[in-house]
């Protein structure tokens, strides 16, 4: 009986999704839909929070006040994005503490791109331009995701990301018009960030275990390879515009397909970083755990203060 009614519910659920009626927190949903969303939204939230680290690394050494205020604002935005997304995940019935614990114990993943080091100032340019550019490519379709709170959070995120990408490209533009050394620095940053940025779109469609179901549920609207192709197509001319060379000897415009052809991604490197063996995986997690533990006394003090005030008010009343 239970099975029959669940499959009937599932039919109604899928029919609503097919009609582009959003799913809201209290609506019935298949457990697997809920789980998929918690995994995806929390990974996304963790990525925003861990993503603050590589850039925070350069705040004190930004070359001008203008660059510094922009970078601080960007890193603050990433914190905000993490919070919108954690809040969206919590509407699915999971506690914030559980989400954080999953990040800190390494059970939950975050975007591998943040496990690469930021060794020069030009990396701030390359990250804004490429990493935020790839993120926007992924995120714009998510504004129409079937789960209401996720879609609404993504609308806010996308509005704010556009400044991130523009400030990054402006840094690259400035460096590419500068001294020989500055140009070299910009090219070096592009060389190091290009491939990891392409990897941000995830495994190739033939190896992506979640894509088919997620497309059916309209959590995803395009496949990894479709979005990756779109990113290459719009980014290559942007590199040419500032006289930089994309580090791919197979890169070639295909007039017939109206797309760029590009070389094979190093999937061994991709999976290696996903599994925790990238250049900075351990360092990033350690920094997150330390920040959380160092902040424990603040959280407790705020709670104690709130309780004290509440008691005092009770006395007066």
């Amino acid at each position: 009986m239970q099975a029959v009614s669940n499959s009937a519910k599932e039919q109604v659920f899928q029919a609503n999704i097919d009609a582009d009626i959003k799913v809201e927190p209290k609506d019935w949903m298949p457990e697997s839909y809920r789980k998929t969303l918690i995994r995806q939204i929390s990974q996304h939230a963790h990525s925003e929070i861990v993503g603050m680290l590589p850039e925070a690394n350069w705040i004190t050494r930004a070359p001008s006040l203008r660059r510094k205020v922009a970078l601080i604002a960007k890193v603050q935005d990433e914190a905000g994005h993490g919070l919108y997304l954690y809040a969206a995940a919590e509407t699915l019935g999971i506690e914030r503490d559980t989400l954080l614990e999953e990040l800190h114990t390494g059970k939950a993943k975050y975007s591998s791109i943040f496990n690469y080091p930021t060794t020069t100032w030009a990396d701030m340019g390359a990250i804004g331009w490429l990493v935020d550019g790839a993120a926007i490519m992924n995120q714009v379709p998510l504004c129409r995701a079937s789960y209401g709170p996720y879609a609404r959070a993504m609308v806010r995120v996308c509005k704010e990301e556009s400044f991130h990408q523009r400030q990054g490209y402006e840094i690259m533009l400035t460096l590419s018009k500068g001294s020989e050394e500055q140009k070299r620095m910009a090219q070096d940053a592009l060389n190091r960030w290009w491939w990891p940025s392409l990897m941000m779109f995830g495994p190739s469609d033939k190896d992506s275990s979640h894509t088919e179901q997620s497309m059916k549920w309209r959590i995803k609207r395009f496949t990894n390879d479709e979005l990756r192709q779109r990113f290459v197509d719009i980014t290559v001319p942007q590199a040419e515009f500032i006289g930089l060379t994309v580090p791919d000897s197979h890169l070639k415009w295909n007039e017939e397909r109206r797309h760029y052809e590009f070389g094979e991604i190093n999937w061994e490197e991709f999976w290696n970083v996903v599994k925790g063996n990238g250049p900075c995986n351990r360092q990033r997690l350690k920094a997150r755990v330390k920040a959380y533990e160092d902040g424990a006394w603040v959280r407790e003090a705020a709670m104690a203060y709130a309780e004290k005030r509440e008691k005092r008010q009770e006395k007066v009343a």
């Binding site: 905000g80 919590e90 709170p149 609404r152 959070a153 203060y305």
Partner: protein, 94 residues
């Protein structure tokens, strides 16, 4: 005993003349902190001029299961809409 900061729902009035609109939620130890956090999280770009915060546990929401009994009765009451009434076209301003 470890106690977590409670969950708050945030409502923002974007400008005078418009009502407060739900924008999301956040955690805070008390109401004052909820307002301050809402300022930082939800109004970094002049999105609002006034903030309401309500502790989530104080909100009562209707359940999707009640949707039929709550909202279906309005479906067959077309006479509540102005277009239900047949009046001659020559008639003006009504």
């Amino acid at each position: 005993m470890k106690k977590d900061w409670s969950l708050w729902e945030v409502f923002i009035r974007s400008k005078n003349g418009l009502s407060h609109k739900h924008v999301g939620s956040l955690h805070a130890a008390d109401a004052q902190m909820a307002i301050e956090n809402a300022r930082d999280v939800y109004t970094r770009r002049n999105e609002g001029i006034s903030i309401w915060v309500v502790e989530s546990k104080h909100l009562t929401a209707s359940s999707p299961n009640q949707a039929e009994s709550l909202f279906d009765p309005a479906d067959d009451k077309v006479y509540r809409h102005p277009t239900f009434y047949d009046l001659p076209n020559e008639l003006k301003h009504i």
